[in-house]
């Protein structure tokens, strides 16, 4: 048997609270396409970042041709013949195709010889059977063409290991086939490819071997001939539901909101669901399934192009967050830092921010004591751990920041609360508190839309689960039918029957 080009041995990596990778050993043989699959947060990205020198492993080693190597930065990776291509290509839009291919080369002399560079670029592209004008700016190229340029760049740098992180995510079906042709041609030239994918049919089509990661651990590694779709999905899921608080059965209240055929060109389409008071509607799906985009549309940040939103019996066009707030829809965003909270401002100021007119006196000045009283109320109710509500939010822990954000939106007295990844990056204790609070809110008759990539969390907390995949609704599952397998199967687009029946 041939020797592997690159091997990782017992790699572990920890970020604060989370063990991103735990004792992962992986090998890649010459001329092999090795697929890496796993749920969001399974550790795929961390592994790539370790191989390309962005992160350093806490434990374990990387072997190239059987010799241990240290990869400190991207130059090291490049020098060792490891290249990575991401979902969003990293080209220089202002430079032309040929320059993009050769920009990292150190060996092309003191001066840029344009004529020679164009000829060499054409030769590299010809070898890959890619038709592109080497003189055109990268700016105007399609994503697929930009990827081809990046692959050409990697090849021209004599890359032996090519890591492709979800390269097909934004490609059309035809472009995917073009890319696969390219991958096969690279494989026949002896290049080893680590292929990270979310679409199982593609993974089965292109790869020679399939490795499944879950919670930072390697679960299985099988030759394609020995692997089955069901087996891979089973390996990806199967997490223990131990940290979760099971949502008690609440009485389904009145119909609050109906969404029919909501669409936004190029983003999502055909989203239809009902939300009742006192219920949690879960949104499940993998990264790129566009769940957040649907939420942004419901909250009016990025309004939908077509479709109906019927709120309490009346059709509504939601064009701005202001309008959504007036109706009683609030959205607590996934990214607390970017969209949700104003970090240097105090807890009280953050909570009152969307509802400032409520706290204004006749002169338009803010009645500070009322603002603080309201914030104090939330501090008690949600157990926000801070010495006072005048503390800047940036000084709080992630879990407490999350609670401030929830307070901010609860203060708006919503009827429908959209929570986008409310427990990402917070510790187990704070998670449980958030879950308690969701339960508490639904008891009061609120409807909660819970977007979460944490499958056990969605399963534990939701009354019904809507599964999305690449901007399409794959189905809505009642709690009784929902298992990790059924959800994951729908999220990966494996069972079209389910989708059609439910939609």
């Amino acid at each position: 048997m041939e020797k592997p080009v690159i091997e990782t041995r017992h790699i572990s990596k920890r970020f604060d609270m989370t063990q991103a990778l735990c004792d992962v050993s992986l090998d890649l043989y010459p001329g092999e396409v090795h697929a890496l699959v796993g749920e969001n947060g399974a550790g795929k990205s961390t592994l790539i970042k370790i191989l390309t020198g962005i992160h350093r492993p806490d434990e374990g080693e990387i072997l190239l041709d059987g010799k241990a190597v240290q990869i400190h930065n991207s130059q090291d990776a490049q020098a060792l013949g490891i290249a990575a291509i991401y979902q969003e290509p990293m080209v220089f839009p202002d430079l032309n195709v040929a320059e993009n291919i050769f920009i990292s080369h150190q060996d092309r002399g003191k001066f840029v010889r344009w004529g020679k560079m164009y000829k060499d670029a054409e030769a590299v592209l010809a070898k890959l059977d890619v038709k592109l004008n080497v003189r055109s700016q990268a700016r105007g190229l399609t994503l697929a063409a930009q990827q081809a340029v990046e692959i050409a760049k990697a090849i021209s740098l004599q890359a032996r290991v090519l890591i492709m992180d979800e390269p097909t995510a934004s490609l059309s079906a035809h472009e995917v086939q073009q890319l696969f042709k390219l991958i096969r041609s690279l494989r026949s030239q002896g290049v080893s490819i680590l292929f990270i994918g979310h679409r199982l049919e593609e993974v089965f089509e292109i790869s020679d071997r399939i490795t499944v990661l879950r919670d930072g651990m390697k679960i299985s590694s099988k030759l394609r001939s020995e692997a089955t779709t069901e087996g891979v999905i089973r390996d990806m899921v199967g997490r223990e539901i131990k940290d979760f608080f099971l949502k008690g059965a609440t009485k389904r209240g009145d119909l609050l909101m109906s969404v029919r055929n909501l669409s936004k060109a190029g983003v999502f389409r055909g989203i239809s669901f009902d939300v009742y008071g006192g219920e949690v509607l879960g949104f499940a799906g993998l990264i790129g399934s566009r769940r957040t985009d649907v939420c942004l549309a419901l909250f009016g940040i990025e309004p939908a192009d077509s479709g109906e939103i019927i709120f309490e019996g009346k059709p509504q066009k939601i064009r701005s967050p202001q309008q959504a707030l007036e109706l009683g829809i609030t959205y607590a965003s996934e990214d607390r830092r970017k969209l949700g909270l104003t970090m240097p401002m105090s807890i009280a100021s953050n909570i009152s921010l969307p509802m400032l007119p409520r706290y204004m006196n006749v002169l338009g000045l803010i009645r500070r004591h009322e603002e603080i009283a309201a914030a104090e109320e939330f501090r008690r109710r949600l157990m926000i751990r801070a010495e006072s509500v005048n503390v800047p939010v940036e000084r709080l822990s992630g879990g407490n920041q999350q609670k401030v954000m929830l307070s901010k939106w609860l203060n708006a007295n919503p009827k429908v609360l959209i929570l986008d990844e409310p427990t990402r990056g917070i510790d187990v204790g704070a998670k449980a508190e958030v879950h308690h609070m969701i339960n508490d809110l639904t008891d009061r008759g609120l409807a909660v839309i819970l977007v979460s990539s944490d499958l056990p969390e969605v399963l534990a907390m939701s009354d019904r689960i809507l599964v999305m995949r690449e901007g399409r609704q794959m189905g809505i599952f009642e709690k009784a039918q929902a298992t990790e397998e059924t959800i994951m199967t729908a999220a990966m687009g494996q069972n079209h029957n389910v989708a059609e029946v439910a939609a």
């Binding site: 130059q75 220089f92 839009p93 202002d94 920009i103 344009w114 038709k131 059309s172 079906a173 035809h174």
Partner: protein, 355 residues
């Protein structure tokens, strides 16, 4: 058509449009101002372009990396004053040494900017607003509020602006213009043929990709600021030669003139695109407008800056529009070159429609 497009680029076409506009502006003013175009006016504009363009080229290098250099005017002022004073005290300083001194001061001042921005990670806009004030204060402190006087300068400096290289009839191409053209040629070469130049574009075009590609980005940005300082130093020397009298406000406003010039000349404020030739055209446009407005009696001098400002805004706004239109023409023709791509698009659309 396709062949025509492949021979040029949207950026080239934009430069051609700018040349055309410069001609149109000249024609407009010659219809408004009697005896508009004469040898004196040509020299006046060309000498002032020589100074603006040299600074603008340095500014271009910095702009390409998505940075600003607002301290250029103060560097020009300081070097003009400092070199002027040395020459006043010692008339025997050889010309080469005087130029070297000017460039040297510029290098030091540029290096200070570069260190703070590149290695200290302070945003360039803040850093250079700071050094703009610091370098100007140094000048005031150093000069003791005295003025360098033409009468006390060596003769060769005073005569320099009138030294001719070549004349076309009444029109003289002066040595200072020659120096400027040399700088244009050198830096056009640097930006086109040296890996350093290409990396300036790369860093501004996609900083993250530049980091991933393993460029020494910090070092490259540092060098861009050093070069901007050096060129401002050279411009300071040209400034001294042109005006002779140098006061403590010398060079004030040149930071804005240089930015106006390169923005009009098509250097992107998002970095990554623009040429030295474009910067030169921009400098010509700005100085032509300014000097013409001075002579246009229909406009009161109080309105002159406002009008200049509005014209620049107009130019930049329409430029963005024109460039995006031009680019889409090129992109479309690109798609036709590879017929496959079009088929691919149709298939993709069909795919979407079906699903």
């Amino acid at each position: 058509m396709k062949r025509l497009l492949s021979m040029t680029s949207p950026e080239r076409v934009r430069e051609l449009i700018l040349i055309l506009l410069i001609v149109l502006v000249s024609l407009f003013f010659s219809s408004q101002i009697p005896n508009y175009f004469n040898a004196r006016f040509f020299n006046r504009v060309s000498t002032s372009v020589a100074i603006t363009a040299v600074i603008a080229i340095g500014q271009t290098l910095v702009f390409l990396t998505r940075n600003f250099d607002l301290s250029v005017g103060s560097i020009v002022g300081f070097t003009a004053y400092f070199v002027g004073q040395q020459l006043t005290r010692n008339n025997d300083i050889p010309p080469a040494l005087a130029v070297l001194m000017a460039v040297g001061i510029g290098v030091v001042m540029g290096a200070i900017n570069g260190v703070i921005i590149s290695y200290g990670r302070v945003p360039s806009i803040i850093t250079t607003i700071g050094t703009l004030a610091v370098y100007r204060t140094l000048l005031i402190e150093f000069s003791d509020a005295q003025t360098v006087l033409t009468a006390k300068l060596p003769k060769w400096v005073v005569d320099l602006p009138r030294v001719n290289i070549i004349s076309f009839g009444d029109l003289d191409i002066r040595l200072v213009v020659g120096i400027m053209l040399l700088v244009v040629v050198i830096f056009q070469f640097v930006l086109t043929y040296l890996p350093f130049g290409r990396r300036l574009y790369a860093i501004g075009s996609n900083p993250e990709a530049a980091r991933n590609a393993g460029f020494p980005s910090q070092q490259i940005v540092f060098i861009a600021f050093v070069l901007s300082g050096a060129l401002s130093g050279l411009a300071g020397f040209l400034f001294l030669a042109r005006f002779g009298n140098v006061t403590v406000v010398a060079g004030q406003g040149l930071e804005f003139a240089s930015i106006a010039a390169i923005v009009v000349g098509g250097v992107s404020n998002n970095g990554g695109s623009g040429t030295v030739f474009g910067a030169l055209l921009g400098a010509i446009m700005i100085d032509l407008l300014e000097n013409s407005l001075i002579r246009w009696l229909a406009i009161s001098e109080f309105w002159r800056d406002a009008i200049l400002g509005m014209l620049i805004l107009l130019a930049v706004a329409s430029d963005k529009l024109v460039l995006s239109k031009l680019r889409s023409i090129w992109t479309r023709s690109e798609l036709q070159i590879t017929d496959e791509t079009v088929v691919e698009k149709q298939e993709a659309e069909h795919h979407v429609a079906k699903a």
